[in-house]
């Protein structure tokens, strides 16, 4: 059975990340912003049933625009239980793999930028201007 990814690479498709059962997604909007979850089932064209037992996301339905797809994917049957999702996620060590992605690093960067105080923002601005002036 060809996976979506291998089919995409073979056909040289534009899209490499697909919304499919097992796809690990990064939640960008909503209650669980910043956490990762796994697609367990598709509800309709705009909604996913999602679960993140290892990242503190309860099993819930999210809208597609709340979520950002990652490269990571696990092998789970459609609609499987949280226990199964958890075991697959820990087996693949998805949490560690996600931390290595650029998306995770960018999110960390955004978080630390928001935590810069007024002085921090000043120092950032000054260092940027001096850097650009060179």
């Amino acid at each position: 059975i060809q996976s979506n990814l291998s089919r995409a690479i073979f056909c040289k498709m534009l899209y490499q990340r697909f919304i499919e059962v097992g796809r690990v997604c990064y939640i960008r909007i909503g209650d669980h912003t910043g956490k990762i979850c796994t697609v367990v089932d598709l509800v309709d064209q705009k909604h996913l049933l999602v679960d993140g037992p290892t990242s503190g996301v309860p099993r819930c339905v999210l809208r597609l625009n709340q979520v950002s797809l990652t490269d990571l994917k696990i092998d789970i049957p459609r609609g499987c239980k949280s226990k199964k999702v958890r075991s697959e996620l820990t087996k693949e060590d998805i949490n560690a793999k996600f931390l290595a992605t650029s998306l995770s690093k960018k999110a960390e960067g955004k978080k630390s930028k928001a935590l810069l105080g007024d002085f921090g923002r000043f120092k950032l601005r000054v260092s940027k201007t001096t850097l650009n002036r060179k």
Binding site: L115, L116, G117, D118, F119, F122, K123, V126
Partner: protein, 248 residues
């Protein structure tokens, strides 16, 4: 409850809120509370009330043979005069004036952003809160031109930057120092004569005090990298920056 300490009050509050359901509904109904308290089982220590009845009448000696020798006179005489209209009395005011509560984010040495006044947008160092409640700040003067100044807490943003300055204990740093001096009133003749000899706008005393305070603050500011230039710059909002979303 009046005699309990603040800690006991808080503990009591916690206990009360623990026995509550959401919406301010107590967990136990009246009957359940009655059963639980079981006051009917407890011994009641009946203390005799020590209220001494004040005597209404007192005996007074009366002179004269035929007047009975003594008479019962009321202790409190009824007034011999009543006003025609009710006299309105103001309500009792038991308020004690305290200086404004200082925000927990403002500590001596904190960098503050002034939001109003001549120096709006400037970043200054907070020194202490004066008894009037106003905050005493300094630029320092040499760095951004803000002198020793009183500033209202409401017109200030406290940043998270705190400069380590040694405690400034100066007797002259009080509200009286900053009060505007009343101009001497001129009599009729003098009113039309222009006062040619004007006193300097800033007293020598103030300048000396400024130098004294800044001699302590400026070295502390210079110790921190980029802090002098930070204090020299003004606070502005750029595109995409919203004050309620910024962390100061």
């Amino acid at each position: 409850v009046n005699s309990s300490t603040t800690k006991q009050w808080y503990q009591r509050r916690v206990a009360i809120t623990a026995g509550m359901l959401p919406g301010g509904v107590p967990k136990l109904g009246r009957a359940a509370v009655y059963r639980r308290r079981a006051l009917y089982k407890r011994k009641k220590n009946a203390k005799p009330s020590k209220v001494e009845a004040k005597p209404e009448f007192k005996t007074k000696k009366v002179h004269g043979e035929k007047n009975g020798g003594s008479r019962q006179v009321p202790v409190q005489k009824s007034p011999r005069f009543y006003p025609t209209e009710d006299v309105k009395r103001p309500l009792t005011n038991r308020r004690k004036v305290k200086p404004t509560k200082l925000r927990s984010s403002i500590k001596p040495g904190t960098v503050l952003i002034l939001l109003a006044g001549a120096h709006r947008g400037k970043r200054v160092i907070f020194l202490k809160q004066l008894p009037s409640g106003l905050l005493l700040v300094t630029g320092p003067y040499k760095i951004n031109g803000v002198p020793l100044r009183r500033v209202d807490q409401a017109y200030v943003i406290a940043t998270s930057t705190v400069v380590e300055i040694p405690a400034i204990a100066n007797d002259k740093l009080t509200d009286a120092m900053f009060k505007r001096k009343a101009k001497p009133t001129k009599n009729e003749r003098e009113m039309f004569i222009e006062n040619t000899s004007e006193e300097p706008k800033i007293s020598a005393e103030r300048i000396a005090l400024q130098k004294e305070v800044d001699a302590v603050v400026v070295p502390a500011v210079k110790k921190v990298e980029m802090l002098p230039s930070y204090l020299r710059s003004k606070f502005t909002l750029t595109k995409g920056q919203f004050p309620h979303q910024l962390k100061f």
